[in-house]
Amino acid sequence: MKTITTLSLLGAFASTTAMAQDLPQADNTWFIAAQETIAARVNVQPNTSKAKNVILLIADGNGVGTNYITRLFAGQAAGNYGDEHLLPQDTFPHVALSKTYNTNAQTPDSAGTGTAFHTGVKTKQGVLGVDETLARGDCAGVDAATVANASEIFSALGKQVGIISSARLTHATPASAYAHSADRNFESNDGLSEGCEQKDIAAQLVDAMAAGTVDYAFGGGRRHFIPSDLEDEQGKTGKRTDGTNLIEAAAEAGIQYAWDVDTLAGADLSKPVLGLFTSSHMSYEADRPASEPSLSDLTETAIKALEGSENGYFLTIESGRVDHASHATNAYRTVTDGVEFAEAIAIADALTNDEDTLIIVSADHEHAVAMAGYSGRGAPILGLSMKVDGAGEKYLEEPNLAQDGKPYTTVSFLNGASSVMKEDAQWNGTRNAELTQEMAMDMDYTQEVLVPLSSETHSGEDVAIYAKGPWAHLIGGTMEQNVIFHVMHHAATAE
């Protein structure tokens, strides 16, 4: 009650009192813009319609900090300072913070987090579609620990189901939407531990498509669907050692197969489609050949395929390689894949109606990324930290220097392979004295890092949830990550 009263008073002040008072800042553009924001917020009304369609967009590793870097990159690419920019998700009316930890891990992995938002329960690190009673790797215990996942639950509601990922379709996040596995690494039979009788993840996807709980699956990971002695369309061999060709098995079940832009364009979208566009993960957007569809291409195709569904659809979309670029401490590909994720969000929003489609955008976890100060406005976000102009707005063309007299980038990571500490110097190190703006902004530059690890790590800090559409107002405050599923399910089943 106290909160409601306070909010009401704030609303009254913003909409009436301030306007009525003669304030010296009343003509200030920041003041006016803020008044307009308040007026828009006052008009936000809860949508309590039933959600016919639910779209969940996850950028793996796109926490609040990473999203901020991408926002500035996109804004600067548009010719602005960057910080005034809004990504599509930034404009959504309802936002919350998501607590991402796994039941046994302060710093989560994508299997545990994917299971949280695709099943409604948190679980351990490394497992898929099972509850926390299962020890990772315990194949014999999978059945007893199995929980229903999003593809099973939403298809049972009569909805069609689509799954998209720019990673392998058998990778943790997309797999958590359809699979039950004691280990995320059981992507094909060759990865199963000895004596493990659980079905591998790729086989589970084809089973799900044959059973009708998944209708469209687009992503990478072809190698986990074909035998090790078979070359695919791109001359790469498969991983399977059981001789099974799951693409052929899918075809026998009436599921079409697409492997590039042309074969996807030629598919009959009124029927199920398995799209496997690369042997492993799909390309980073910065490296993507024209023959390979982008994440936004796949989003558009999936929505156009699903929109005729009489009872609506559930579509889960993962931008999987934001995470991989951060693991490599290559901020350029983090943000260029982040921009492509934003494009997919924009297309999903443009092709759907707020009245009947709930759209939720979030991340599974953040990375150990950090932004150093103090740059003036407009300093290239991937470049060196540049001095503030005390008399103006735009940054000065003079880098900030550390106490060692050397420049530093605004974006860095705490740990990773690009550590300043080198093995051939007995793990001592010094920073690069010759780092220039051009070097720092090169697309292959890897950020300066302190702690030497083979791969940069996730972090456990909160990530944002952005929502619009039916029951999006249930997203608010600081929430456990698994609540996302419950919001989607409530919206789809509300009477």
Binding site: S283, P289, E292, T329, A417, E423, D424, A425, D444, P452
Partner: protein, 142 residues
């Protein structure tokens, strides 16, 4: 022999090849050699058989006293030869050195000079399959 011992041994018994100051052409980046979606760039095709200079990082080598290492465009801490399940990136360059070399940390940028060869080759010592390599190479720290 663990990696630290390997590095120390390599440093003690090998000779760092000298870097020619008369390197030909511009300093290339790894991405200059490949097209998006793989295949080689027109520039790489035009330079096949000629001397090039390219910058990158030395992936952790499998063997001491070797004349072979893999150049990557970004630091790569894990040696796919050594780690089960490890994977090479697709845009890499096999480097054959003129003489035994001193191992450089995977995160230290190096400049490599050698003869570009665009042809399939299997390294006899490691079984590493490559479609592009630098032969008779020398390198130095950037």
């Amino acid at each position: 022999m663990n990696r630290r011992q390997f590095l120390a041994t390599s440093a003690a018994v090998t000779t760092t090849p000298c870097w020619s100051s008369a390197a030909e052409g511009d300093l290339l980046k790894m991405r200059d050699i490949y097209n998006k979606g793989l295949g080689f760039s027109p520039l790489a095709t035009s330079l096949d058989g000629g001397q090039i200079r390219v910058e990158g990082f030395m992936a952790p080598p499998l063997k001491a006293d070797s004349l072979f290492f893999v150049l990557t465009k970004m630091p790569m801490a894990v040696c796919p030869f050594c780690e089960p399940g490890g994977e090479w990136p697709e845009d890499i360059l096999a480097v054959y050195t003129r003489r035994k070399y001193e191992v450089v940390s995977f995160s230290r940028k190096i400049l490599v000079q050698g003869t570009l060869r665009l042809s399939e080759h299997i390294d006899p010592g490691t079984g590493f399959f490559s479609k592009v390599r630098l032969e008779n190479s020398t390198f130095r720290r950037a």
